[in-house]
């Protein structure tokens, strides 16, 4: 597994945990414990996202680096890196 893949997996697992808490809070809006955990994950996510985007290009359209139009560079999420197109 490449460094990019490993970092993306780490980020995805954090984002998944945050998303689970997010939809849990939709039906349990008063649950402080879940809100606190969500806050913790969000902090880690923003650090990891910055690290990932600096190394491998944007995940979000709001990504700061417009020095080159990196948004178009592959692989796109549905692609296998081994494929050469």
């Amino acid at each position: 597994m490449s460094r990019q893949e490993r970092m993306m997996r780490q980020l995805s697992s954090m984002k998944f945990a945050a998303w689970e808490l997010h939809i849990f809070l939709d039906t349990h809006p008063g649950n402080c414990e879940a809100a606190k955990k969500l806050e913790e994950y969000r902090k880690k996510i923003s650090e990891l996202t910055r690290e990932y985007e600096e190394a491998f290009g944007p995940i979000h359209e709001t990504h700061n680096d417009t020095s080159r139009w990196a948004w178009i560079s592959g692989p796109w999420p549905w692609e296998n890196e081994e494929d050469d197109d």
Partner: protein, 205 residues
Amino acid sequence: MFVYEKRLQYPIKIKNPNPALAKLIISQYGGPHGEIGASLRYLSQRYSMPYPELKAILTDIGTEELGHLEMVGAIVYQLTRNVSPEDIKKAGWDAYFIDHTTGVYPVAASGTPFSADGLAVTGDPIADLNENLAAEQKARLTYDNILRYADDPDVRDPIKFLREREIVHYQRFGEGLRILTDKLDSRNFYAFNPSFDKAKKAKGN
């Protein structure tokens, strides 16, 4: 509005193409219990839904389903890459190939193109939430059926993830239904079309 995040919700990296398996899995792209139907069902039901919790859960689950649509599309795409016309014919993927080549088109495994018939948007919150509970179970059982035929771990892994999401969504919709029934007027406990009638009452007719 919606903004794209350039990643899959769960990684998909399939080494071996298998159009015969794609033929089954594509049902979760455009079939009666598939992800596009789920997404459009929830995002369309939001407008007539009362209570902030319910509007939020329909918006968020409807959005997550779009991410699942992308995942199923990625599975179908990777399963049908780099295959010869002979292999396509052998796999029974040839009829699809004639119309769509290697494009990913929303159809059911049985060949019927995606139909909004399966959406069920009634404008009645009780009917809609019960519909969604059933829809999540139908999607879950379709993934169970796919797992009966898929032996490639590269495919089984993301399919198992998607199956588990149906179970979590079922749970969240169940809580939504409980929030709704808890708030029903005790004199109108067997309420029909409560949001429509409430709006009429507020206007004074």
